[in-house]
Structure formats: structure tokens, C-alpha cells
Symmetry: C2
Subunit: 184 residues, 2 copies
Amino acid sequence: MEKWTTLESEYLIRRPWLTARRDKLMMPNGHIHPEYYVLEYPTWVNVIAIDRQGRFIMVEQYRHGLDDIFTELVAGVAEDGEEPLAAARRELEEETGYTGGQWELNTVISANPGSQNNLSYCFIARDVEPNGRRHLDETEDLSVKLLERSEVLGLLTSDTMKQALMTASLWKFFYNEEKNRPTV
Amino acid sequence: MEKWTTLESEYLIRRPWLTARRDKLMMPNGHIHPEYYVLEYPTWVNVIAIDRQGRFIMVEQYRHGLDDIFTELVAGVAEDGEEPLAAARRELEEETGYTGGQWELNTVISANPGSQNNLSYCFIARDVEPNGRRHLDETEDLSVKLLERSEVLGLLTSDTMKQALMTASLWKFFYNEEKNRPTV
């Protein structure tokens, strides 16, 4: 299996929330793809944040693509030069007012390796605590929800939570919990 | 939590592989998002296909967004009027030549509910069999790989497989296996 060759590349649109590129590609067999679209995005982050009582710190918000309201993990975009971990800590504090805790990287995945050029860093933060400094700006519209483990599993099992970058990280988290549970 | 209101909507591009829309949205607090981008796609499908020997039927292919070669689940796009299950069966046969088996829906998720309007139907197909009628067209470039369960888990654990719509479905599959394994 070989990589394909980019023959030409041009930007269709470069806006803060959408950068789209059209590439002309040649496959190893010589076939030409005259228009292959790539969406360029910065690094994305999300976090499975859990407090000392074992509650998951989630956010409810409107998602316009599916035109519905979802309960999701805290997520966001890394700023220029910002490390993924710093971005995830910042997003958690901004959106929920929770800070601190023990952080680890859970998985690094892509919403679509065919059409997107960025990666999503998915963290786990245990024993986070509220510090009361939540600061949304007027372009954000979300409410914080504390969910029990069984409620989060219910959102996953019922396909109520749909964001694959979040469900992938959560299913991996719960898989590892199950795998490590003591047998009788 | 309320939905946002679409005030205006216009298409930037409508091509077979990229349809992008710019909406002007009003939040419940009255704030206006002058340019909110939505990518419109048809229904997507993928399948965890397993033969009678317990081997996972996977495909290796180049993914231009990340400019790298990945081992992935069979996946594709539902055609106009095609049911997701029929699309997944067709894609499995076209890409690998495997057919038959017992099929079930594993999860229905979204690559990004904020910016995409479509859903991905993720199936499990057990006891699939090769029928020798693989038929790729010249725009496709992939090789079939049969992987053991431990190899698939290795691709997931190491973040070698990165496509979130696939890793979410696979982690759910392995979670349910772990959950249902008999305790000693």
C-alpha cells in the first residue's frame, strides 16, 4: 500500500470556522482524483472529567449540525501554540468551573482521517473540583450537568450521546474499567 | 436549553464529495452567529465483520486527510434510498468479497453533531464468508487484511487506528464482550 501523490492544491475558503482545500491526487495505479476535499482544523480536545464523588462533569448544549440538544463531554479547540493538555484544562475550567485533578491521555483519534487533517486528544481527569470561576462568553450557551457513571453508560448504550470522538473515548474508558474489574 | 434559530442559510459549495452551507444563527440570548458552517453528507456506514474463525475482516488504505495508511473497518456511503444495512452489506462485498453472516446494529453516531448533518450506522456481522466476488473500481485502492481479535485490540490501544466512528464502535463491541465474559 502506497501513499497517493498531490498534484495540485488550492484553498476554497479560509475562515476561522471553516478551512477547505481542494487537492488533485494521483493514485499509485495512475488514476487521477481531480477534486479531493480536505477540511483543515486545529487540534481538538475533550475530557472525561470525574469528581471525588465519582460524578461525571458533562455539558448540555445545542448542536446545529444535527439540530438537537446533547449532553456531551467538555470539548474544544487548542489555541495557537497551546498544548492539548493545557487546552483541555482551560476548556474544562471555562465551561464548568472545574479544575485540578489527576490527568491522563486516554486516546488520540480523528473524526475522519480521509477528509480532516487534525487529531483529537481525549483526556481523563479524576478528582476534579469546582472553583467557581466558570466564564462563558456570550457566544457560548451550555449548562453543566453532573452525571452518575450509570447515567453516562445509559447515554452511550442508547445512542443518545452521538459525538464519536467522545463515545470512542468513553467506551475505551469503560472497557478498561470492565477489563480491570476483579473476578469473583 | 433551547435550540438556536436559523435566520439565513446559503450554500457555499455543492459537489459530490463536499457540500458546505453557511447559516446565520440566533442564540436564545439574542447573540447572532453570522457564519456557522455545516457540512452536509449522506448516511455513512461501517461494519465489524468477523468470519467463522474469529478473524476480523479489515481493509488497509491511504487516508489523505492525515496523509497516512491505516487499517480500518470496511466503511462507505449509503446511496440514495438505500437502507444503512443494505449499504453496509454492499460495501463489505465490494471491498472484501465477504457476504452472509448474522448482522446487528451496534451503534448510531456522528463524526461531529456541531458541524455535520449526517449519522453513521455501525454494524456487527458475525460468520461472514468469502464469495470471491470482490469488485473495486479504479478509484479505490485498498487491500484486505484478516486480523485476530488481539491484533484489533492492539490497533485500538496503541491509537494506530484513529477513525473515531470505527474506534467508538469497536470499543463498544469489546466493552460488551468484557462485560459479558463469565466470572470465575
